[in-house]
Amino acid sequence: MRRLAPWAAGVLAVAALPALARNTFFLHVCILVFMWTVLGAAWNVLGGFAGQVSFGHASLFGIGAYVTIILYLEAGIAPWWGIPLGGLAAAAASLPIGLICFRLRGPYFSLSTLAVAELVRLVALNWEWATNGPVGFLITALPPLSFLGHAVNWEAKAPFYAVAAALMLLALASTAWLRRSRLGAYLAAIRENEDAAEAVGIDTVRAKVLTLALSAFLAGAGGGFYAFYFRYIDPDAVLNIGLSMEMVFIAMVGGLGTVGGPLVGAVFLTTIGEAVRERFQVGHLIFYGLFMMLVIRFLPEGIWGRARRLLANARARVLLHGAARG
């Protein structure tokens, strides 16, 4: 019960936010924060919990975005069905990628994911019959939908806010589940010492491939949401290396291997990014790079990781104090 209390409070807060602030720009930033939380959590599942640093998550994001938008434009399947289908497609695509790249370890794994992501980008750029090549896809109108008897207004932010919030909740809940599951324990063992994990009988390849599939589902669903919200994708927008890096940074700045880390990282980096973008148009990535370096140098456990530790210490001190007096 006590474990569920912060979750209930979080859900209430997310539900109450749009009622408090009707400012469109504020809602836009919230939507971005939720989307980046999903992507940061997707990367964190693999990079933070299993210690497998991927530099190629943009490929999974891009696959989700392309599947969602192609299903809608070519087959008429509405994006709210397309988003989970995009996630499933990314999870399916992650199986061969995982079987190839997981034969390598450490930095070699990272480099191989980079190469795979570049290959996916080249394919999207050149298979024009499927992907429209560099031109990309544009959604001109979203399908009509009625919710509780009212037609949904796709020009407002509120419907997107609801979808993004649901996706974020899914991402955070699945990370929380993973942390407490048997698979999560396997991953911690793999992260700390892969040979030892194998020696005690953990099927490390299976554990890593499963985790990658979960990570890919979240990244692909995030990509589907991107296509749904921005209504335009091309290889440069959804498949570039920079996107993979941003996912890494959000998880890293928030705190590797924590449940709340990606949310904190996304709040922090997206707010800074949007503030800088408002003022200078370009340059928010300068701050991403800078924060990345500062965090690794001074705060390797991330903002949320450090905050949680300080909180736990304080609580222990209060308890000790109480015990000594009582």
């Binding site: 070699y108 080249l122 890293m252 370096m293």
Partner: protein
């Protein structure tokens, strides 16, 4: 036949420059076990140094390489001393992520300062290529080839003949044994990082007249660079030379005989295959 020789020649010409960049990455990896993701940005800085030297002071890029190579050496030493040194004990993955941050920072600072415009350096002697034996050889590429060969030869002499060079090779073979033999590993690391950066910068200066310059060009180069060092075996200098020339030739043949659009893809496929089946490099000299 003529197309074959032509693409072989132009492949080797670019290959030697690729090799220079690769050597920079590979010596740094050998000594410090760092995969420097910001290496491509160092090449980019060299390219822009050549550009500004040309447009502000009318310096010929092939003369200014004499100025920029030592300058980049100092930049490298400073980067190591003030940014990287404290990070390295934190482990391979932390360093990898840290240099990813550095790469993003430098590329976007450059984007902020110099805008994303594509620039070129126009040299008067670049307009008509030489035609020895009927093969077109652009003059800037030929000069760059010569200078790159000279720099690589000088580096070879430095590594094999001087005390510092021997210390670098010893540290790269076995860092603990090197410490026990009285080598100041910290100093070796500073010099090696300076050397790697200087090589990247020099290659950038030499490449500048033949390529478009833009602040995010490093992204493209760093991936090529990984292909090169993995082909040759991480940590091996001769491997990086062979890998660089091989990639140059493969790309140039790929562009002629397969398609220009998949030119870069060929490199990545070879890269994955080598990583999977020969992780110590084609020549079996690298360490994984």
């Amino acid at each position: 036949m003529e197309a074959f020789v032509q693409s072989l020649v132009s492949g080797v010409l670019t290959g030697v420059l690729y090799a220079m960049i690769g050597i920079g990455l590979t010596v740094v990896f050998g000594v410090m076990r760092i995969i420097n993701l910001a290496h491509g940005e160092m090449v980019m800085l060299g390219m822009f140094a050549a550009f500004w030297g040309r447009s502000l002071w009318h310096l010929d890029p092939f003369l200014s390489v004499l100025l920029w190579t030592p300058a980049m050496f100092v930049v490298g030493m400073l980067v190591y001393r003030f940014l990287l040194r404290k990070i390295i004990p934190g482990g391979e993955l932390n360093t990898l992520l840290y240099t990813a941050g550095l790469s993003l920072l430098v590329a976007n600072l450059a984007l902020f300062a110099w805008t994303g415009d594509y620039r070129t350096i126009n040299l008067p002697y670049a307009l008509t290529p030489m035609r020895p034996f009927g093969i077109a050889v652009p003059i800037p590429a030929a000069i760059a080839f010569g200078v790159a060969l000279a720099i690589t030869a000088a580096l070879w002499l430095f590594l094999s003949r001087t005390d510092m060079g021997r210390a670098i090779r010893a540290t790269s073979q076995n860092a603990e044994a090197a410490v026990l033999m009285g080598i100041d590993v910290e100093r070796v690391a500073v010099v090696t990082f300076g050397l790697g950066t200087a090589l990247a910068g020099a290659a950038g200066v030499l490449l500048a007249p033949s390529l478009y310059l833009y602040p995010t060009v490093g992204e493209l180069l760093i991936v090529k660079c990984f292909v090169i060092v993995v082909l040759g075996g991480l940590g091996s200098v001769p491997g990086a030379i062979a890998g660089g020339i091989l990639l140059g030739v493969v790309e140039s043949f790929g562009a002629v005989y397969v398609s220009t659009t998949y030119k870069d893809g060929i490199g990545y496929v070879i890269f994955l295959l080598v990583l999977l089946f020969r992780p110590s490099g084609l020549f079996g000299v690298g360490r994984s």
